[in-house]
């Protein structure tokens, strides 16, 4: 059965209200911020963001914040545990009559791929196992961005980072494959999970709206094109984000109670089109073309979609 949106079929249905206001200290063209801005249109302002160390920690820099929601900066490794404390306390205070029900908040973890895939993984696993009712919003810029773009477990094969340079031994840069955090989450059987891209805003809004129906852990992996770390002109953020999906590298999908549905089936352009736009992959084309590495990346994508389409 094909995936059908219920609420967001046309752009004008996206709420006009803004909850992430302009003027943040993040880089121009930050694709992660675009995702957050769109997500917040559905999440609203009755939210507490529990943040892990990363680029988005700069969103709330005393005394300023571009959000009309609450904010708690925790650590890089324990934002999900922070969400646990906030959620539990809200529940207890409401149950004891010390906080009116109308004052309740959605609890949203906000973290980069480094904390999500690596340092906060045991804390996340704990929170999902405890069936914590929270959203996990991961902006995936495929590196430890805030510290200067080092290798993270989300860095894809072939990308150059400041700790996976192209050398004689590894001319293609990163040799590891991107960790499949989606499947790691899915093994925990949360009620709702999705990948999103800001270039597919209707799909994104739809998923946040759908997730609202589920109590328990809800994952959102947001594609976060990063001009600073991926070395492209900020003007190309939309193109990079669109091509990631169209080339099949960033599948748009959803898993409800573990059942995966792809919400958009791309025609699949060659991965080269996506790679060529970014400085972090330039070594695959210049000074000499690294055909084998490019073929490897293409093969991975083909394998993925073969398994999807059966």
């Amino acid at each position: 059965m094909a995936w059908e949106p219920h609420m967001f079929k046309e752009l004008h249905q996206i709420p006009r209200e803004e909850h992430v206001f302009p003027g943040t200290p993040l880089c121009a063209g930050c694709g992660g911020l675009e995702s957050l801005r769109l997500a917040s249109k559905v999440l609203g302002s009755h939210v507490v963001y529990v943040n892990a160390a990363g680029c988005f920690t700069n969103l709330a820099a005393f005394p300023f914040t571009p959000l009309d929601a609450s904010w708690l900066y925790t650590t890089m490794g324990s934002a999900p545990a922070g969400a646990q404390g906030v959620r539990d306390a809200l529940d207890v205070l409401i149950a004891k009559g010390r906080l009116p029900k109308e004052e309740d908040l959605k609890v949203v973890v906000l973290g980069g791929d480094g904390s999500t895939y690596d340092m906060a993984l045991s804390s996340t696993s704990g929170a999902i196992t405890r069936k914590l009712d929270f959203y996990y919003f991961c902006y995936d810029n495929e590196a430890y961005g805030n510290t200067g773009v080092q290798l993270s477990p989300a860095t894809p094969y072939g990308a150059r980072t400041s700790t996976s340079p192209c050398g004689v031994q590894h001319p293609a840069g990163t040799t590891q494959e991107k960790k499949d955090i989606f499947e790691i989450w899915r093994a925990h059987k949360p009620p709702y999970m999705a990948t999103v891209s800001p270039r597919f805003p209707l799909d994104l809004e739809e998923k946040f709206a759908r997730a609202e129906e589920y109590r328990g852990p809800k994952l959102f992996l947001a594609f976060a094109a990063c001009p600073t770390g991926w070395l492209f002109d900020p003007a190309y953020t939309p193109d990079v984000a669109r091509l990631a999906v169209e080339c099949g590298l960033w599948p748009l999908k959803e898993a409800i109670n573990g059942t995966v549905t792809h919400t958009y089936i791309p025609k699949r352009k060659p991965v080269e089109e996506y790679l060529k736009l970014q400085g972090r992959f330039r070594h695959l084309f210049e000074p000499t073309r690294q055909d084998e590495a490019i073929r490897h990346i293409q093969a991975r994508v083909d394998d993925y979609w073969k398994q999807v389409n059966g």
């Binding site: 529990v50 820099a61 609450s70 900066y73 925790t74 324990s78 545990a81 906030v86 539990d88 906080l99």
Partner: protein
Amino acid sequence: MNQTNQMMTGNLAAAWGARLADVDYVPAFPITPQTEIVETLSKWCGTGALNARFVTMDSEHSMMTAAGAAAATGARVFTATSSQGLLHAFEVLYTVAGWRVPLVLVNVSRALASPITLEPDHNDVLAARDSGFLQIHAETCQEIVDSILMAYRIAEDPRVCLPVMVNLDGFYLSFTREPVILPDPRMVQAFLPAYRPTHLGFKASSPRALGTAVLGGATYSYFRHQNHLASMNALLVHEEAAVDFERLCGRRYDLVEGYRLDDAEDVLIMTNAFASKGKAAVDVARAEGKRVGLLRLRVIRPWPADAIRHALQGRRAVAVLDQNLSPGQGGILFQEIAASLYHEALRPRALCSFIGGLGGKNLSEGEFRAIFEQTAEAGVRGKGIGPVLLYTEMEYREMEQLQYLAHDLKTGK
């Protein structure tokens, strides 16, 4: 109002402290010798004897984060750990102290690996002395209950708003049964009113940001300084709480406790459960006509410098018995005592540093006798000694035997 008298372990006493404080939330993670505290609390939460939510977390790092976050949301929070657990939570100790949340953490002191052991010394808790948590160190099971109640009262005072660590010794208190008088809950209510913070809390009607980034050292310095001032305020708030607590429950706790100090020439400084051994040793020495006394440090953060100076003014010699070791330096508390006395015109003639009781190693009567004798000599000479690691000849011979066994017995290698 009734106070009930029961025999109980230090761990049970700690659980009772949390129960009497009517806490809302207990995130927990197991570690020996603390487990009996959280097991008891989980049982009470299950039966409804305590109207709180109990959650087993995935680590102490998570436990401490959840504890701080719940306190920041407006709940009264209790948790407990020990040793490696405290160290695993270390990053978060600083974080929650910076959030200025008034939770109470019980630490059941246990020496740190490696080598691994279950028995106590104070390197765990003292490693946390710069985290921003206040620290109260209990000597008896009774003091554990009472200190937890005082800890909430101090932590939640608007002049303080800081988390508090209440320390008790693993095994020597955690599993030692002593008579404990439990205050009547109505008495506790009069001493510790319900927690209704106005400065904390996340709610729909008023968004708040906590723990935000600060750019530029000046903002950071300001917040850190506020942390320091709040900690210093706790000296006064502790005194007020002590007066109220004594009025209601009849037991008095000061920042420091003097034992047979009045006419003492030489003073031995100790903390925690081993201070009871020290007091017994003072009695023995007194019976032999020596003018010695003991000063027990109860509150370590904030550092009660004035109370210490006052207690040590004009003494001949002072010995600090540290149950901890800073390798390459010596005793941690010795350094702090020395710093407090530096500017005193009437400071003791000699300061002596002893290190003992590491990993729960016993302190014998003979060792105390040696401490008193060497301290007295140092006082006469006007020259301090140490750090001296207390180790008896018998213990050393036993150690050699173990080393022999650990080697190849046949070749003796």
